[in-house]
Each structure stands twice: as C-alpha cells, then as structure tokens.
Homo-oligomer: 207 residues x 3
C-alpha cells in the first residue's frame, strides 16, 4: 500500500533528523539511536497512549524499531556526506510530516473520534516526535517557534477530514491531502512564511 | 453543576498562564495555543493515562480544547492590558489549582483507588499541567522550586478525602476543600511561605 | 522473593539519586520528593503505559511511593554525610539498574511480547526514570551521553531473554543476568568504557 511505503520513508527521515540533532549534542551511539527512534516513533506513541489505542505501532511491528535504529546508525556513520543531501532531506522530512498526519487521522477515525480529535490526532502524530526530540536535547521545541510546520499538519489533517466528509474516494483523499500539504510545506520554507509572534515586553510583572 | 463551572474557569486560567509563558519565550501563535492547551489539559491527561481512565476528558469533550485555545488567542491579543488584572489572575489560578485537585480526586475515587492514590491523582491534576508547560519552555518546573503550590494541592486533596471519609455531604466537602485550599494558597502567596530548601554544597562528588 | 527485595533496594537507590540531583538544583522539599519518586518509579510507569499494562505498579502498591518519598526525605536530611557512601551508592545504583531491567523483561514476557520488545521493556524500565529526572532538572539526559549505562541494560535484558530461551531455570537466569550485568556495569565504570561519539563539525548546515 502507498501510505505504508510513505510511512516507512517518513520514519527513516525522522530518525535521521533525530540522529543529527543527537550528534550535535555530543551524544554517544546509544543516545543517537534512541533520539532517532523517539523522533520517528514518539509522535505516534503519544497519539496512541492519549487515544488508548493499543498495542502501539512499534510494539505490534518491532521491525519499525529496527528501521529507525538502522537509519540512526547509518546517519552517524555517513553524516559528513549528508550535507550534499540537504534538499532531499528537507523534502523527505516534509513528506514524512504530511504522511504521519494522514496516518494519525486514519487511526482516530477508525476509533470513531470527533472530527476535531481526528485532526488533532494527525497533528500530534506529525509534530510530537520532533517535540520529544527537542525536549530530550534540552531546547525549546522548534515546532513551537518556527516556520509553518505545525500549521502544515493542521492544514493537511483538516483537508483530509474535509475531503472524506465530501465522500471523496479515500485513496484520492490521501493523495490530494499529501500533495497539497507537501506543497504548502515547501512554499512555506521557500518564502519563509511565519505565524505572528507577539510582543512580550508588555507582559512584565506576570508570573 | 458548580464544580463543572469552576473547572471551565480553571482551564481558561491555566491556558492563559501557559500562553503568557509561551509569549515570553518568543513562540509563534501555534506555540502559544499549544502551550495554553497543554498547561490547561496536561495535568488531567497525565492523570488519566496513569490511571488507565479512558477516554481522556478533552477527547470526550473537544469543546474544552476550544476554550483553552480561545483563551490562549485572546491572551496573546490583549496581553498588553493584562498586567492590570494580575490580582484577578492569581486568584483565578489558585481557584483552578484547588478545583483541578478536587476533580482529580473524584475521578480516582470513582475508580475505587486507594486513598493515597486519590490524593495523588488530585495533586497530579493540579500541578502537572504547569510542569509540562515548564518542560516545553525549557526551564526547571516552578512547582519543584517555589512557594507552596504543590503543598496546597496535597492539602486540598487530603482534606477532601478526609471530609468524605467522615461522611460529610459531598457538595459540602467540595466547597469546604476548595475554600480552605484557596485560603491556604492566598495566605502562602501573601506571606511568602516556603518549604525548606537544602544546602547542597555538601553533596559534591556525588554521582 | 529475591527479585522483589532487590526491587525495593533499587527504588530506594534511584529515589536517592533523584533527590540528590533535585537538591543540587535548589528544589524545595516537595520537589526533592517528587524527583525522587519520578526517578524511582518513572521508568516502570512509562513501560506500563507503553505496553498498556494496568494498573501501574505504584498504583497497585502505594507503599512503593512511601518508600521512595521516605528515601528522598532521608537523603535530604543526611546528604552531608552521604559522600562517605559514594562507593556503596554506585554499587546499589548499578544493582538497581540491572534489577529494574530483569523486572521489566518479566512484565513484557508475561504479556506475550516479541523478544525485541521484551528486551526494550527492560531497557525502558532501567533507564527512563533517570531520563525523566534529567528532563525535569533541565539537562540533557546523562544516559544519552555517558558511559555504558543503557548498554548495560541492553546487555542484561538480552542475556536474560537468551538464557530463558535456552530453557535455563528462571531463578538461575535472574541471578546470572543480574550478576553478569552488574559486573559489566562495574567494569565499565572502573575502566571508563564508552560508546563512540561522532564528530559533528561536519554536519553544519543541517536542519
């Protein structure tokens, strides 16, 4: 199935992004592998725990763990050559984000959740892996600060839920949502679209 | 029901406290909303996951998400005027703490938990939202360092469990616990009551 | 039972290590107790939540909470004398690591999990308590950076699973795994064995 293939590509891309950040923090090989696995599988795990959806994906399919750990080890070994692949990496990372999002929506839909929770399940699947990565690397999560990463996940999930509500063919809805979400992500990166920040100099005195 | 009204006030207050801290960390609008929602709903979510109490509150009632996100957006927009409301905010925050605590106790009681776990469920509901907020904002949780915040939650939960054990009317027990807990919290702030810290200069060489 | 006794020693040792780090961060008595309890019981709690294994250990046995909180309070009071006990502490901490690991494996085995998940459940039980401690203390988890701590957990779990697969008597398998794991840990500390780190100067420009 297409979505499953994209999922495997996505967890490899996310594991690589985790491994790279772990290397930058001076982690050892175990730390690099663990950050890789948590980045790739953490979003889906948090979604499943919040929804009470057992067993978790990587517990039912331990081979997913192997893929992410393998990707992290390979990243550690070949990192010096990876900067040639930066554009590929960002493309695959964006593909992973929107694929995670659609997959997360599907799981919540299969549990009969409210549409708002379905979209949120997609968002959590897409962005909470990177959020755990940043917490373990002791920095404020990029997704809370940066260009439109979470917004892309929200857009993708809402579009997917909307297309299904319009009774579009599910396979078409997947492809349309992934295509539109990925285009949005690439345009947001290309043109540095941002959400507003807020002036905080006025909130002194507040706890 | 009174407790439900107080709960809604409490999640709005907690969402505002999260949004303010997110703004101070230079987060964008998505980050501010997410910190708001996590601060307001995170304590109850952790409690429910630890107790195995499904579905989680905001999954059964997605409108709670809307309230917290709305409160975060409003906070971001009007933050420059909020410092006039500092006293109101601290009062509502204290009310939220003790209300969360009583609600958390009720959920554990309904599951037939041991009284110690009931009190702990109240504590977790009251303080873990703020703890998640601080972890996401990359600082040591205030609740582990500060004036009597967690102690108020412990006191409120223990009083509530004790009054119910004495077969007091449940509505009265709620009101008495919330009233006494809030009074304790306000007095602790007014007079800067603190738990002891410990001299750590002697523990060098450890671990 | 032997393993249960070792478990109690282990949670006391982990609670002490959490309390010491909390004291160093200037936490108050509540913070010290909470860090102690989270360090001691957090690894097993994360394992149980990921496996869907309810009720959690300390919810079924609230007395475990009492042991960890008691250990944290005693640590706070007597910390100035503890540096005399550093060698004992490291020995007990290592014993706790390998005991947690074997206990975690047993729980996943009882649920009929795949051997890879069994070993991972042991790893999570052994190291995630310390990982939560470090996140709450706002530092990059030591286990991701340091000498062979997680590797010892992986080795212990894999050895235990392997010995059981070879149909060794369970009590013997427990003793052999704990003995070999502890020896490995002590040798790793004594000779400063490390996993490779990776040169990160070449990964600039990434993400």
């Amino acid at each position: 199935m297409l979505l499953h293939t994209i999922y495997l590509i996505a967890i490899v891309a996310e594991a690589m992004s985790g491994a790279i950040m772990g290397m930058r923090r001076g982690m050892d090989l175990f730390g690099i592998c663990m950050i890789g696995a948590v980045t790739a599988l953490g979003g889906g795990s948090i979604r499943d725990v919040l929804l009470g959806h057992y067993p978790l994906g990587w517990i039912a399919h331990p081979e997913y763990l192997l893929f992410t750990i393998g990707a992290a080890v390979v990243t550690a070994v070949v990192a010096r050559h990876l900067h040639h692949l930066r554009a590929v990496f960002l493309l695959v990372d964006g593909l992973g984000l929107v694929a995670f999002c659609v997959i997360g929506c599907d799981i919540a839909r299969a549990q009969g959740m409210h549409p708002a929770i379905v979209v949120l399940a997609g968002l959590i699947t897409g962005v909470f892996g990177g959020l755990l990565r940043d917490v373990l690397c002791n920095q404020i999560p990029l997704v809370l600060q940066r260009e439109l990463y979470a917004t892309v996940a929200l857009f993708t999930g809402a579009l997917y839920v909307g297309l299904l509500w319009l009774r579009l063919d599910p396979a078409l809805a997947v492809l349309a949502s992934i295509g539109a979400g990925l285009a949005f992500r690439l345009l947001a990166m290309r043109f540095h679209w941002q959400l507003p920040n807020f002036d905080t100099s006025r909130v002194r005195g507040f706890e």
